[in-house]
Symmetry: C2
Subunit: 439 residues, 2 copies
């Protein structure tokens, strides 16, 4: 993409409306613009990152055997009366009447709807297990929306719902999602700690929250240092039944509030770590709560009537955009992990008025495109300093600068955004380096 044709309204100053770094950087980097309190438009750069995260989340859900559906954003209040949650849910639920005065709501979650779909379309135990998920916009009418997409009102969430015949099978479905979450966050380049969570008002037996570690995180997480011995590569390679799942589920990790309730923490003080985290995923096994309330049954192998055991599994897709920035930035801007970066390469032509530079930059841009390397090409008539600052701000992993001095020597300058390390190399060497990394 040529920057001259793109839509990237970067801001030079920190916007006053933003309190936390990810919100500031998303506004400055032209990723989002607020349209109403807690409601954002995603500009091209932000949308690319959102879609990259969504794609990885989807791939790992599919790999785990979950099947994608898409439920609507608007739901009928009647559905929520069946589960008893219509009255129980607070003012976070956005409720309204349609033109025929029917009570409707903007879905904050989909347990009721998926249970109704399952109830109306599945008859036999032979159709189990089943895990259905969707990636859809939700609305929670937060009283004080803040922190940009980290606590917005309209937000994109992946929610999956498993249906099993018995508790043992349900634990298998739970573990499959546990593995999918480990893999998902590791692929995103994030260390995510699975924290044993209270099951709370949703009820049920087993629950984990996944917190990515970031110094600016909203929560305080206490965990056994043994967790730190499990690397990203091991998490990314996890499979259902693999030892890493048992280890992670047995190692102590709690959010502050829960940790403080524990009277005799099994972890020796010198082994206990305390870090800040951001909750980006939450998985629940809650049994027959909804299937019983909503009369969702299947016929068992002996003709008996059974209530399927359910679990639900959420990932905050839009929240992750902010979460990753909180975990990965410096004073100059965002540092995207490769897997979610909006572009792989930022190509800077230092002198657009120099025909030799312009030709070389155009030619390299064409080669990068041909090689399938998504490149943002700064072909604007701007000062070099402004171009460098923009590439740093928006966090493209590799910057390639073409200038007259380098061309005379037959080299371009290649900078690693994360380390800041610069080296000069020929275009051939650059292409080899970039294509090798993808292989």
């Amino acid at each position: 993409m040529r920057l001259s044709r793109y839509f990237l309204p970067v801001l030079k100053e920190d916007p006053s409306e933003a309190q936390i770094v990810s919100h500031k950087l998303m506004l400055r980097a032209g990723m989002i613009r607020q349209q109403a309190a807690g409601i954002y438009a995603w500009l091209p750069l932000g949308l690319k990152v959102l879609r990259n995260i969504e794609r990885i989340v989807r791939e790992e859900q599919n790999r785990a055997g979950a099947i994608e559906v898409l439920m609507p954003t608007i739901q009928s209040a009647d559905l929520w009366r069946e589960s008893g949650r219509y009255d129980a849910y607070g003012p976070e639920m956005l409720r309204f009447l349609d033109r025929h005065e029917r009570e409707m709501l903007y879905g904050p979650t989909n347990e009721e709807m998926i249970t109704a779909i399952f109830r109306d379309n599945v008859r036999s135990y032979r159709d189990l297990p089943k895990n259905l998920y969707h990636i859809q916009w939700k609305f929670r009418d937060e009283t004080r929306p803040r922190f940009g997409v980290m606590r917005g009102r309209e937000f994109l969430m992946k929610d999956a719902y498993s249906f099993d015949l018995d508790a043992e099978a349900a634990k298998k479905s739970y573990d499959a999602m546990f593995v999918a979450y480990l893999r998902t966050f590791a692929r995103l380049g994030m260390v995510a700690v699975p924290v044993r969570a209270p099951t709370g008002p949703i009820g049920g037996n087993l629950s984990h929250e996944f917190h990515i570690l970031a110094d600016t995180g909203e929560s305080e997480v206490f965990y056994d240092a043994a967790l730190e011995q499990i690397g990203l590569a091991e998490m990314e390679a996890a499979t259902p039944g693999s030892a890493v799942v048992d280890r992670l589920q047995s190692i102590y990790a709690m959010e502050q509030e829960e940790h403080e309730k524990v009277t005799d923490c099994p972890v020796p003080a010198d082994q206990l770590r305390k870090r800040r985290g951001i909750e980006v995923g939450h998985i629940f096994y809650f049994g027959t709560k909804y299937t019983q309330a909503m009369g969702c049954t299947v016929q068992g192998p002996d003709g008996q009537v059974l209530y399927p055991e359910m679990g639900s599994y959420g990932i905050g897709v839009s929240r992750l955009v902010g979460g990753i920035i909180e975990a990965s930035h410096d004073a100059s801007g965002i540092i995207w992990p490769d897997a979610v970066a909006p572009f792989q390469v930022g190509l800077i032509n230092l002198r657009v008025d120099d025909a030799k530079c312009a030709d070389a930059a155009d030619e390299l841009f064409a080669r990068l495109n041909l090689a399938g390397i998504d490149t943002l090409y700064d072909d604007r008539d701007e000062r070099g300093g402004a171009k460098f600052a923009t590439m740093d701000l928006i966090g493209v992993p590799t910057h390639v600068t073409i200038g007259p001095k380098g061309l005379d020597k037959g080299v371009v300058e290649v900078k690693d955004r994360k380390t800041g390390a610069k080296e000069e190399m020929s275009v051939e060497a650059l292409m080899n380096k970039l294509t090798a990394r993808r292989a």
Copy 2:
């Protein structure tokens, strides 16, 4: 995908709630389920088709130079007061108060929001032309939602908005979208007639509707038979400035209501064709209507203040799913064009209790997956007749049946869903045929 693990709740009977064939078939084929009047959940098969259409729409928007953003579903009423449309818009607009009693609405369209985004982020004529689009769910509170996804309340739409410095440049942007629409519908396998449309309440100078021809269409379209000489291939290969654009814009084509207003139709009676159509796209050039009303200006080359000229360009993505079925079905079910088919191949094992058949089917399924041919594999313990009926109903383009008699001869049976033609061939010949088609 193995059907035994999929979620495909087909119905044997025509559902009583459906009046038109696409609605009946989408329910019967397990593509959608109604959640409230005019509000549908997309089940896995329906979602795959929706995503295939969305992908083609997106590719042609990108090719035309439009840049993707994503605006939220919920908007502030204040925004619509700026354009004057808040009071003008009828009860189709879903309005509500949030928890702080602020007036909000579920966006039926996005002219106001995109104009505000443009106004707040673009300063100079050098940033023009620009065309921003998104593919997002909209809501129109139809008083009588019907015909399934053809006239739903919550629907998926692609809407693009162009900004240009003057009328001449705006016409170029309009033509670029005109071309993108020709290509999009042709790639979807549909004959779409561009009909000169009244500009109506939205105002402005130039507008076309695109109607796909279907005997069950809701509208009546009158056009010059000369249109029929322009084939799908020519439309798909259209480029801005190509002769086909001028020809299509100059050939007579009108919807009934407009046609009846024409006192001396230029088309001789024997040249005039009358067909039923379904509106699936609509493009408008409306000038400075919104930029003036909302104070959206850019600085011109001589420092003067200019109101950008705008156009808007919509495609009903979810509506197209129904529209394509209306145009392409028979008594047995849906006939998907290859480009949007949810699976390319339906693989039927006639005898799951026969180890030789099961092995051969498993092996072929593995080969098809390896070759990247998306296959639905009916591995269920069902009668052959039910399996054939399901594949016909859901409209997979190529059916491959494995049975004991064929295996003895070293062949499988290959059926073309559209023509019904069957032939026996070896697995090697089948693989060659399928991979050749993709090349």
